[in-house]
């Protein structure tokens, strides 16, 4: 009974803390701007099944992708067991789903096998990170905290899996006469647990496992591993447009139409017209809700940066940094801005976090968007920041300013006369 009480209290506290954090992060959505419309639901479901559940994009790098996919699918199965543990803990029961018979055996057996696979994968991940030092895990934007985050998460997952197998080992020895479920991996190691210590062994591992689940859950929102929670919704909320399609700014359409309409071109603006909104993204209140979910979802894997032509050739731009900075800026400014819409800390996303040099290096090739395993779009926010630089700050490289002038004057980005547009036709003939 006391176990139930202690567990109940623990569960209540940790879920409470998590709910608080989740609400705090969600409250920042109020600061963001409208983005695209979330429609085409069946297409979204297909995308989610493929990219999130099917792991299709992470599998673009097959070997390491498969390891991640196995960890992910393993988590899915093991989560069923975690729910059972919670029910058991509250109800004082043991393996309450045992009555499912063959299905229960299937669930426990896959959980048991997946635990072993996850352990192997996590060791491989640690080796890649700390011994092989894979290049994409480093970069200017990768703080020591980020690396510690990764190591801590991998260690926690390892302890979770060891305790799961430990719990099963204890259970097998403790209940050797009436075992419910099937445990192909744990049963290999039952010789390590004596009959007298089996109960204590099982209980200890049970507590380690369940406590760690909730500690992990509460650390997630503060770490890059928040993707465990965010990636499925983020994939569902993918902007389904073709990658190179850029939105047309409605505010500009309105103004251009006014300018082109001779009846309104010289009319004074209406008295009650709302103040014009800021063009593009300068700071965190200008980003869309999708830019924000993107930033929360980024797990800093660096696949984007590793394929970025600018980054590959030594330029400052790193799409991963754009996402990290966006999330950081919301963390830094969001709380103040929530209380006071005019909150100003003298800084802004463009300038203090992301430099113009980074923004101007993007070729809009969308390789980063293509590679992101969870469909984050760094290009859209980069383009919106360029829009702010150009349309609000008149801050563009001088060659681009010249290009704008050429288009306006000659209808071509180069300085050619529109009269010469047919020069290429002179003397044209077949078989020559």
């Amino acid at each position: 009974m006391s176990k139930q009480l202690i567990f109940g209290l623990f569960l209540f506290l940790s879920l409470g803390v998590f709910t608080y954090t989740a609400f705090r992060l969600a409250s920042f959505f109020r600061l963001t701007k409208k983005g695209f419309k979330v429609d085409r639901i069946s297409e979204r479901i297909t995308t989610t099944l493929l990219v999130a559940f099917g792991q299709t994009k992470i599998l673009r790098r097959p070997a390491i992708g498969l390891m991640h996919a196995l960890v992910y699918w393993g988590f899915m199965v093991i989560t069923i067991g975690s729910v059972e543990m919670m029910v058991d803990g509250l109800a004082g029961t043991e393996r309450i789903m045992g009555s499912l018979g063959i299905f229960y055996s299937l669930i426990t057996a896959s959980g048991d096998i997946f635990a072993a696979i996850i352990i192997l994968s996590c060791f491989a991940f640690l080796v890649r990170r700390h011994i092989m030092k894979v290049k994409r895990f480093s970069g200017v934007e990768m703080s020591p905290k980020s690396s510690m985050d990764a190591t801590a998460a991998l260690t926690m997952i390892l302890i979770l899996m060891f305790s799961l197998i430990g719990m099963n080992m204890g259970y097998l020895v403790n209940h050797s006469d009436e075992i419910v479920g099937y445990y192909p991996i744990s049963s290999l190691f039952t010789g390590l647990v004596s009959a007298e210590s089996a109960h204590l062994f099982q209980e200890t591992n049970w507590w380690i496992h369940i406590v760690l689940i909730f500690v992990f859950l509460n650390i997630l929102p503060y770490s890059k591993h928040f993707h465990i929670i965010m990636s499925i919704p983020n994939v569902f909320l993918t902007d389904l447009k073709p990658m190179t399609q850029m939105n047309n700014m409605a505010s500009v359409t309105k103004e251009v139409k006014l300018m082109m309409d001779p009846n309104t071109a010289f009319a004074a603006p209406a008295e009650d017209a709302p103040p014009p909104e800021r063009f593009g993204v300068k700071d965190i209140e200008d980003i869309t809700w999708k830019n924000y979910t993107d930033s929360l979802t980024c797990t800093e894997c660096g696949r984007c940066t590793s394929v970025c032509p600018a980054n590959i050739t030594g330029k400052l731009l790193s799409p991963r940094k754009i996402m990290i900075d966006t999330r950081k800026r919301m963390n830094d400014r969001g709380p103040g801005l929530s209380k006071d819409p005019n909150f100003d800390d003298g800084k802004s996303l463009v300038g203090d976090y992301i430099t113009t040099e980074e923004l101007w290096a993007c070729t809009t090739c969308n390789a980063c968007v293509q590679e992101c395993p969870v469909n984050i779009d760094p290009v859209s926010i980069i383009m919106d920041m360029r829009r702010n630089l150009v349309m609000e700050e008149s801050n563009a490289p001088k060659e681009l300013v010249q290009m704008f002038t050429n288009i306006e004057n000659n209808g071509s980005p180069w300085q050619f006369s529109p009269e010469d547009r047919l020069k290429w036709t002179e003397g044209i003939s077949l078989n020559s």
């Binding site: 500009v252 359409t253 050739t313 809009t364 090739c365 288009i407 077949l430």
Partner: protein, 279 residues
């Protein structure tokens, strides 16, 4: 393309020596006619010395096949793509609305262009502003002509067995999912198509997209086009095939930089068709 199964129209009077006149939409209109297809030349296609050759070759193919096409000529103006990608939505939308007015005024229904940036903006960004057209990039258009048997490319010895590598344009490939059409054309030429390490959706940009074409690159260790040309040259190609004016410039500069102009040519898919078939 089925509706195009008709003999050469009288507006495309070819003289016996092969010279012909490229009709403008305005000229057709004066005769009370409309083109079946608008060829959007694009600024690079009209002004860039190197790309003018691609434009000419593509028009020769249209002429040869006998499609009733026309160009806008002096009425064509930049789509606004470089301005938009450089953050100037005003210049872009001014251009877009002006162009849409012209195109809709001429009742244009179907557009083909040899520029993936023009193609992308017509296909994806103009419709919302009122410019709704059936838009083709010349790679899929030419491949369709070959498929339909209207354009014969087989039998040419020019590229038979020669190594050709295809450089994917980002705005065609990743942007709009066109990977296979240009490759099928190369295969139809009997060329030995060899892929670079990074190809199709993993293709590396030439470095010119997003208005980079019009500015110097930011500080780094290397130019993007040098990196990409290096990858292309690893396949020891006779030809690096492209389907985009910006890629063409960047790859050509890259090949020059590596002093390989003698061994490797950078050519557009339309040029390859024309060359191998003496069109």
């Amino acid at each position: 393309m089925e509706e195009a199964e008709q003999p050469i129209e009288e507006n495309q009077e070819q003289l016996s020596n092969g010279t012909f006149h490229v009709p403008t939409v305005a000229e057709l209109k004066a005769k009370g006619e409309e083109p079946e297809l608008l060829f959007w030349v694009g600024c690079a296609g009209a002004f860039d010395d190197r790309y003018q050759k691609v434009t000419r070759d593509f028009v020769k193919i249209l002429e040869k096949v006998g499609i009733k096409y026309a160009v806008l000529g002096t009425e064509e103006s930049c789509t606004g793509d470089p301005a938009k990608r450089a953050g100037n939505e005003f210049v872009y939308q001014m251009q877009a609305m002006g162009n849409i007015e012209v195109l809709n005024g001429y009742n244009i229904k179907k557009i083909v262009t040899a520029c993936p940036h023009c193609f992308n903006i017509f296909k994806n960004e103009y419709p919302e502003l009122g410019g709704k057209y059936e838009v083709h990039h010349h790679s899929t258009f030419l491949q369709q002509l070959i498929n339909d048997g209207r354009l014969k490319v087989a039998g040419g010895e020019e590229f038979k067995g020669k190594t050709i590598t295809f450089h994917d344009s980002c705005y065609l490939g990743r942007g709009n999912g066109i990977y296979e059409a240009p490759r099928k054309i190369l295969e139809a030429l009997d060329a030995n198509l060899v892929e670079m390490k990074r190809n199709r959706s993993k293709g590396l940009c030439c470095g010119a997209g997003g208005a980079q074409m019009f500015k110097d690159a930011e500080k780094g260790d290397k130019e993007v086009n040098i990196e990409r040309t290096g990858e292309a040259l690893e396949t020891n190609p006779s030809v690096i095939a492209t389907a985009c004016p910006f890629c063409m410039t960047m790859m050509t500069d890259g090949v020059k930089d590596k002093n390989k102009e003698g061994d490797t040519k950078v050519m557009d898919i339309a040029e390859l068709i024309v060359k191998s078939n003496n069109i």
